[in-house]
């Protein structure tokens, strides 16, 4: 029997396949290798796989768009950029296992992380509802296990909480998809754009449910309560991955949906509630940060607000807005990964680096690590000279340009609040009376150092070279 798929279809998913295969190699190495295999072996295999996948993926950036598997997976500038971001994030998370091991489970954890990466990459290129769901579940199922892998009680709590709430979100998403299918008789996103559908109640209901599911996954207020608890409980590398890759993949789905899959006349009316919850998230996320004592919870709340900033860029539905959203997602990726890398530098297996109390006096004990952390926190707050500053300028200008200046106003208000929370950490690191409280810090963590310094350089350079990909449209074919 002839396969309905051509070779080009399989080539287009080659980066995913490479990542998936390297996960198998990691497991195989664990099986064949001696009992006390160094944790750097699986990390090395995973990094090699990710790098090869990234190179392979980058090669298709300048090619024309291609809809593989009958439109299920779309290759183009947009999906390539998001896949690269996800691959970078996976690499940045895998290196953290260099300091925070999951004991003998490390190879398994890394393999799960790689499969999760596959799911996220699938979402980045998903061209129909089935692929979106497939990618999302692949991403999430691996993450449920990863969350529960640590020995702590909070980790199991996090895993259970994540499982239940994420499944609820998936339920919304799936029901929405069913209704959308009912409205159109097709699962392809491209078929939703028909003007005849604009007055179809099934489409409105379906798209609404779909967006609620997305809002859950993006942890927008009021669907955000799971993320601080889950981030806190999960192991540090998994939190790093969740805070960026999950968000990037979901944002890719969201952007493709609102840019390319809504009939004309529906979009602005249907999306207004989304922009309103984005505005609320910018305020509530930043307010939520104020009382946190744990870096991972801090970043969870920060992420709620940062997604609000990114949605502000998307609000106008313009190509420039999409490019600036991608710029900000990339900047956010590097600043978050950098902050997690510094936290990993200060951590042993007990993850001391995620407790903010351990940062007191760090500026006196570990000046370089403290300076890096300061830089990443300033980047999250949007102060110069960081990519966060330029990202906010670009988002503000696009919000003015597209008539969503009120979202820009919320962004300003949220940023003002957020600075207090970030500066509190900086304050603790440099305050004059904050000496002592020394604890056992890992003296040498080469991979985390490299990751932190690389993120620093990238966040700094992105301030001066605003690389925004120009060929991200069209999103569907």
């Amino acid at each position: 029997m002839n396969s309905p798929f051509t070779g080009a279809d399989w080539v287009s998913v080659a980066p995913l396949s490479i990542v998936a295969v390297s996960a198998l190699v990691v497991l195989l190495a664990d099986l064949l290798a001696p009992k006390n295999m160094s944790r750097y072996v699986p990390i090395g295999i995973a990094l090699a796989g990710l790098i090869v996948a990234a190179i392979d993926c980058a090669a298709s950036y300048h090619g024309h768009d291609y809809a593989a598997f009958g439109g299920a997976f779309i290759v183009g500038g947009f999906s390539v950029v998001f896949q690269e971001i996800i691959l970078i994030c996976a690499a940045g998370s895998v290196v953290l296992y260099g300091t925070i091991g999951a004991g003998e489970r490390t190879p398994g954890a890394i393999a799960l992380l790689l499969w999760s990466t596959c799911g996220a990459m699938l979402m980045a290129g998903a061209g129909n509802l089935m692929t979106i769901f497939l990618g999302l579940e692949l991403l999430s199922l691996a993450l449920y296990c990863l969350c529960g892998l640590a020995e702590r009680r909070t980790a199991r709590e996090a895993a259970l909480k994540y499982l239940i709430l994420s499944s609820t979100a998936s339920g919304f998403l799936l029901y929405g998809m069913a209704l959308l299918f009912g409205a159109t008789g097709s699962v392809a996103l491209a078929d939703l754009v028909s003007p005849a559908l604009a007055s179809n109640p099934l489409l409105w209901l379906g798209a609404g449910m779909f967006l609620i599911g997305i809002a859950f996954k993006l942890s927008l207020v009021p669907f955000h309560t799971w993320s601080p608890d889950v981030y806190e409980g999960a192991p540090l590398p998994v939190t790093a991955f969740m805070s960026v890759a999950t968000k990037a993949a979901t944002l890719a789905v969201f952007a493709r949906f609102i840019y390319a899959a809504l009939p004309p006349g529906v979009d602005q009316r249907l999306l207004l509630p989304v922009w309103i919850i984005a505005a609320i998230s910018m305020i509530a996320g930043n307010v939520g940060m104020l009382a946190q004592r744990d870096l991972k919870r801090l970043i969870a709340y920060s992420g709620i607000a940062q997604v609000g900033y990114i949605l502000t860029a998307l609000a106008g539905g313009t190509a420039l807005g999409l490019r600036y959203a991608i710029f900000y997602i990339a900047a956010y990726t590097f600043m978050n990964l950098g902050a997690f890398a510094v936290a990993a530098l200060l951590s042993g297996d007990a993850e001391q680096g995620s407790t903010l109390a351990n940062y007191r006096g760090l500026g006196h004990r570990r000046p370089v690590a403290a300076a890096l952390m300061t830089f990443f926190l300033l980047a999250m707050a949007g102060l110069p000279p960081t990519a966060g500053f330029l990202g906010k300028v670009l988002i503000l200008s696009t919000s003015v340009n597209t008539g969503y200046a009120w979202l820009g106003g919320f962004l300003i208000a949220g940023t003002a609040i957020s600075l207090y929370a970030y500066a509190k950490v900086i304050f603790a690191m440099y305050a004059r009376d904050a000496h002592g409280q020394a604890h056992d810090l890992r003296p040498l963590a080469p991979l985390a150092w490299i990751s932190a310094v690389a993120c620093f350089v990238l966040v700094l350079l992105m301030t001066f070279y605003p690389l925004t990909p120009s060929n991200v449209l069209p999103l569907v074919r």
Partner: protein, 478 residues
């Protein structure tokens, strides 16, 4: 090419100093002073050099609006650049705090970021350095300040201003298509958005200057920051708001500034009166100078809002004059504090007998502050009052005369409280100014006298400044 060098040299020097291991205080001060002196020389070269030396431009953004890393002195900013480099030089030499190396490094970072601000010919670059210059002061406040609340109040007030500035810059860029506009003639942003954009800029400038009622961060910050840094902050960072009001508010959005002139004059006059009366009753001597600053800067706000060419010339001269005497005053108060371990006017007394040179310096600086003819403060004040009178704001001039009388009262109270009277028995007796402390004060005191007896130098050094602002003012004063 020299202009960006002027920004990069102090920032690079400051960062390198932060990384150094040596805690040798003398070495740190020597390096800091050399860098600051080098920036002074560079600034003179930039001012007198060819146009390739004066200007530097590097494209930053082409969408959604054009923006460049465009540096170069404008005829208005050159004075502030020179003032900043001199003040930094003096402040570095006057440093007498613990952890000297890190402190001097922060002074250099502050200098670099503020040079970037004054040299920026692009609004977005201006906004970048506007936020950046908060950080050195914040780090000094948490590392050397007495009260934690001060650092927070400084950062949050000024960052709020920085954010409205950022939003206004983005909106300006979108509407005008380019932010590469500072010092470019013929820009006048109008339309339904213009008042809002102007309001965003104005809020930032008024917080930074500051004027009543946005000033509450200022007395705390000035009292808590070690003297060398507060000298730079009060002398030059407070001028950033006024410079912005002239170079951005007046030059780019004259119609909006003109429409809200009454608002600015009222705020300026309230600051004038409020600052003077409050300075009269302060017991912390740094707070006396802090509130006197509020009063003096209120006068400059009135001068700018009056849209009169004479008043604007006065404002430029007074900005330099106030920079010189407030830097001198804060440095001297720092020396007093390091000798007597207190800043309380109720405790201090009789220091002049033991420290004649210190007393002489304080005498000249406080006389300049109260507007004695022959010193730098007087020239600016009288020209401003003439110009504001000519512009027709007679009630403002009449009200402004009250704080000028009060200035004599609070400045003499400050001088007498510290230097005159019987010596206080339980306060330590320490030697007079060392030569290095004298060297830190000498440029400021000499400049005060020089500008005071020869104010002509400020108007002949570069006449373009006055032509530029005069043309702006006249163009809209019709």
């Amino acid at each position: 090419m020299l202009a960006p060098l002027l920004v990069l040299v102090p920032i690079a020097a400051g960062l390198v100093m932060l990384l150094l291991r040596s805690e040798n205080a003398t070495l740190a001060k020597a390096i800091g002073a050399i860098v600051a002196a080098a920036t002074f020389v560079l600034a003179l070269l930039v001012q007198n050099g060819s146009s390739e030396l004066r200007e530097f431009s590097f494209r930053w953004l082409s969408r959604p609006f054009e923006s460049s890393f465009h540096f170069g002195v404008t005829s208005i900013s050159i004075w502030l650049v020179l003032l900043l480099t001199v003040c930094t030089f003096c402040a570095v030499l006057a440093t007498n705090v613990s952890r000297t190396r890190a402190f001097v490094a922060q002074l250099l970072l502050l200098e670099g970021s503020m040079l970037g601000l004054f040299l920026a010919r692009d609004l977005l670059v201006f906004a970048l350095f506007w936020d950046l210059m908060l950080l050195p002061v914040f780090f000094v406040l948490i590392g050397w300040g007495q009260h934690h609340a001060t650092a927070w109040r400084y950062l949050l007030y000024n960052f709020a201003g920085g954010l409205t500035l950022l939003l206004a810059t983005a909106a300006f860029g979108v509407l005008y298509g380019s932010t590469d506009v500072i010092g470019r003639g013929g820009v006048n942003l109008i339309g339904s958005w213009a008042p809002w954009i102007f309001a965003g800029f104005a809020f930032a400038f008024l917080v930074k200057t500051p004027v009543w009622p946005l000033h509450t961060w200022m007395p705390l910050t000035y009292a808590d920051t070690p003297a060398p840094m507060v000298a730079v902050v009060s002398a030059v960072q407070s001028k950033a708001g006024l410079y912005g009001l002239i170079a951005i508010g007046m030059a780019l959005m004259p119609d909006s500034l003109r429409a809200s002139a009454m608002f600015f004059v009222v705020l300026g006059v309230i600051s004038l009166l409020y600052g003077a009366f409050t300075a009269l009753v302060q017991s912390d001597c740094k707070r006396v100078v802090a509130y006197s600053s509020l009063s003096h800067l209120g006068l400059i706000v009135v001068a700018i809002a009056s849209f009169n060419p004479i008043a604007l010339q006065g404002a430029l001269i007074y900005m330099v004059g106030h920079g010189l005497f407030s830097a001198a005053l804060f440095l001297i108060l720092g020396f007093v504090e390091s000798r007597e371990d207190t800043r309380s006017l109720t405790r201090l007394g009789g220091l002049g007998a033991q420290n004649p040179r210190l007393a002489g310096a304080l005498c000249i600086a406080s006389l300049a502050a109260l507007g004695l003819p022959g010193l730098a403060g007087f020239v600016g004040e009288i020209i401003i009052l003439t110009g504001v009178f000519q512009a027709g704001w007679i009630w403002a001039v009449v009200l402004a005369l009250i704080p000028i009388v009060l200035a004599a009262a609070y400045m003499l109270r400050l001088f007498q409280g510290i230097m005159n009277g019987p010596q206080v028995a339980d306060l330590p007796v320490r030697p007079d100014l060392s030569w290095i402390e004298g060297l830190a004060l000498a440029p400021l005191v000499l400049a005060l006298v020089f500008v005071g007896v020869n104010p002509h130098v400020l108007t002949t050094f570069d006449t373009r400044a006055y032509n530029a602002v005069a043309s702006i003012a006249q163009g809209t004063a019709r």
